[in-house]
Amino acid sequence: MSENPTTETTRQDAGGRAIIEARNVVKRFGGATAVDDVSIEVAPGEIYGLVGENGAGKSTLMRVLAGILTPDHGSVVVDGRELEAGSTRAALEAGISLVHQELSLVPELTVAENIVLGTTPVQAGFIKKREMKKIASDALEEIRVQVDLDEPIVRLSVALRQFVEIARAIARKPRVLILDEPTATLTPAETDYLLDMLERLAGQGLAIIYISHRIPEIFRICNRVSVLRDGHLVDTVSISDIKPNEIVDKMVGRELKQELETSRTKVAAGDVVLQARGIKAPGVNGIDLDVRAGEIVGLGGLVGAGRTELVRAIVGADIKSAGTVTINTDGTMRRVNSYRSAISHGFAYVPEERRTDGLALTMTVSDNIALPNRSQLSRYSVLMRGKIGTFAKELADAVGLRPPEIQREAGDFSGGNQQKVVLAKWLGRKPDVIILDEPTRGVDVGAKVEIHRLVRDLAEGGTAVLVVSSDLPELLDLADVIHVVRDGRIAGTLSRDEADEKSVMSLASGESQVRGL
């Protein structure tokens, strides 16, 4: 996609007068400092990129700008005037609109009602329907998206919900538009559309703050970019003065980056351990799958393609309507029909939603690790406390839990460390097959590297590994073979040599035909 020359010239340069400033903002949560003395300023017509690892403080800073959080120190200044701290209303009135990372729409209300939510036009308390619809359709027109105004949000696709959310921000006639990872759930075509839209809006003089993990997007639309790390502002640079890998360096720190790039050496795969045939379930339309001992099989595809549904059906966490799953260890093939039988036959399953499905957050790390290992930790059905402690400690050390305090509640740990706890509890069973669904989502880069290392160690130890990931570099880095899932079917299979971001994405988005398999 080529740069549009007209937007390029109308877009202001960074030197223009700032419309919004964060001045020395500090925000602490309990003992942790999420944002530490950060100052940024954004000019009208500028698209300002904000990057950083998960937990670097990007979202927190944006929530301060939008008045959702009250800073412990510092202030937000719009047009030279200081905003009332921690007031969403004041921020809205000053023209700051935030498009949230989590969708913040009301599921049972209609598109129009959601767009005007909180600012519904009324007369004597009664909603002025015609005016409401006018505002909504104007906002949708502005972003050039067509959707039935009377449709309840529950009936919309994830992508459409994202655009409705943007329409809501636009309907408030903002002067500063903040988008927090808006493309996380979008297809490449939808992402393109969104980025074009943002350039157009910036061309009309809107100041845009754009948060994304996807560096290419930053380079495509942003004028300047700020890098946050551990709550500190590392640097703010003009986009023309920096290269993508330099941004990554600033994000992660140099020592980690080296490790990120070390790829796995191919191990000779053994016998087929996991065999799935003709799996059908809601969202899964007949899939065959083999995973060999020591092999890492990746499942790529778009969100909603049916990958999570597939692996849940394989382990028996959800019901499959057809198909068989067998596990082959020690020369015997055993059929897996329920989650319990899967676990007892040597499966381990690390679910996508670790906070709800993977961990008991109010239990200690030690007890969480003990959960699937009760039989080896008890005698005559009585759990032995002492044994649990040493057992859990060993595993927590093996996965590099930080801080290594196994008597703390699992909910106290960061996302990455929670995921390590989930891994630790399964490692204790020495699984023959491990299935990981988005193992590093919401995990910071450091923990990600460690989790990748653990997964590779497992494979090298002979475990059959099946990984679902929407993080393409991760998938390409880990997997020996990648099955790309689309519409509940395998759209194509790519070997390690064939697979790159382009080939996976084109299969996932249906731009190329089935090959392989």
């Binding site: 009301v106 599921p107 519904t120 998206v145 067509q146 939808e190 059929r335 029909n337 007892s344």
Partner: protein, 343 residues
């Protein structure tokens, strides 16, 4: 669609048939309506008198439904009000304890509002879970009703007014039915057309989003509990007038019947989904069922068994629940033959 024109994100507008289908799919009352039709047909065949004596049936619906309508306002926000039945009793007793009828009615309704405010205070300001807060109120108010009434029914001073109240005054409609219909219309309009009422769905469906959008969530919750308390008080007033006495044990079955009506009507207990109209349908189903069973001579205990079954039927026919039920049943049978070595 080519790249230059952007991407197609919206759906196509269809013809009349598809438009009707879409409208139905958007509603949450579908199952309640289906159930009502089912109950109505069954009644029509076995006990048509339930329809010929429709005043009786309507009276029963009004009895069950009124409190349920107010309760729905609270449930839509994802909160519970277990104190409605006790509110009904205590307000009746307060009313009968005051000799002047008009003053009594006003006092009873005021007490209902105050109970709503207290409930909301515990939920919103103190931050107690509404189940617990209103459970506390349930016991407190029931006890208070007994204390105020000295543990026996309080006779209404103006019996004539009570007797007159039980008679039809608008065609065949008794005041109870008229009040019920007015309350239904008022609440239906409130949650569909009034901004504050519409925002109940936001408070129940996505509270975080409601806060972020600048909706006064606390005020909405106060409003909801006040509606629930006021409507329960209204029901207490009607009961007292019709019986010309206030019984501190009144409304013992009201609490569960109200929740049943709302749930059958498709109102989600966790909030954000459902409608006043759905609750009306649920209450109507229950009312017809009760009257038909009574007319056929079925004992009250057996009636409760039937109502329990209907409630469960209504809940498990939710498409999501249904899927789970079918799935669990299948895995139960799969599991029995499972775990055998094959090959």
């Amino acid at each position: 669609m080519s790249q230059a024109q952007g991407i197609q994100l919206g759906q196509e507008q269809g013809g009349l048939v598809s438009r009707i289908r879409v409208t139905i799919a958007r509603r949450t009352e579908g199952r309640a309506l289906a159930l009502l039709i089912l109950v109505a047909i069954a009644t029509w065949i076995t006990e048509p008198t339930a329809f010929t004596a429709w005043e009786v049936t309507l009276g029963r619906v009004a009895l069950i439904g009124l409190v349920a309508l107010g309760l729905t306002a609270v449930i839509l926000m994802g909160e519970l009000d277990l104190s409605v039945a006790s509110t009904l009793a205590v307000c009746g007793v307060v009313m009968a304890s005051i000799d002047n009828l008009a003053l009594g009615v006003v006092a009873a309704l005021a007490v209902g509002l105050i109970i709503g405010v207290v409930n909301a205070f515990f939920v919103v300001v103190v931050g107690i879970n509404s189940f617990i807060a209103s459970l506390g109120m349930l016991f407190f108010l029931r006890g208070a009703a007994f204390v105020i009434s000295n543990e026996e029914p309080v006779r209404l001073a103006s019996r004539d007014a009570g007797i007159a109240f039980g008679k039809p005054f608008l065609g065949p409609l008794t005041p109870r039915m008229v009040i019920f219909i007015v309350a239904f219309i008022a609440l239906q309009v409130f949650v569909t057309r009034v901004r504050a009422g519409r925002e109940f769905y936001a408070v129940g469906g996505n509270r975080e989003a409601a806060y972020d959008a600048g909706i006064p969530v606390r005020r909405r919750i106060f409003t909801g509990f006040m509606i629930s308390g006021f409507v329960a008080a209204l029901a207490g007033v009607i009961n007292t007038l019709e019986r010309t006495a206030a019984d501190p044990t009144a409304g013992s079955t009201v609490l569960l019947a109200s929740f049943a009506a709302a749930i059958i009507g498709g109102v989600l207990l966790t909030g954000g989904r459902g409608s006043i109209f759905g609750t009306l349908l649920g209450a109507t189903s229950l009312g017809i069922l009760q009257v038909a069973l009574t007319l056929t001579g079925v004992q009250v205990d057996v009636q409760n068994i039937v109502i329990g079954l209907v409630l469960l039927l209504a809940v498990i026919t939710d498409p999501n629940s249904l899927r789970t039920v079918v799935g669990s049943a299948r895995s139960l049978f799969q599991g029995r033959s499972g775990s055998h070595p094959v090959g």
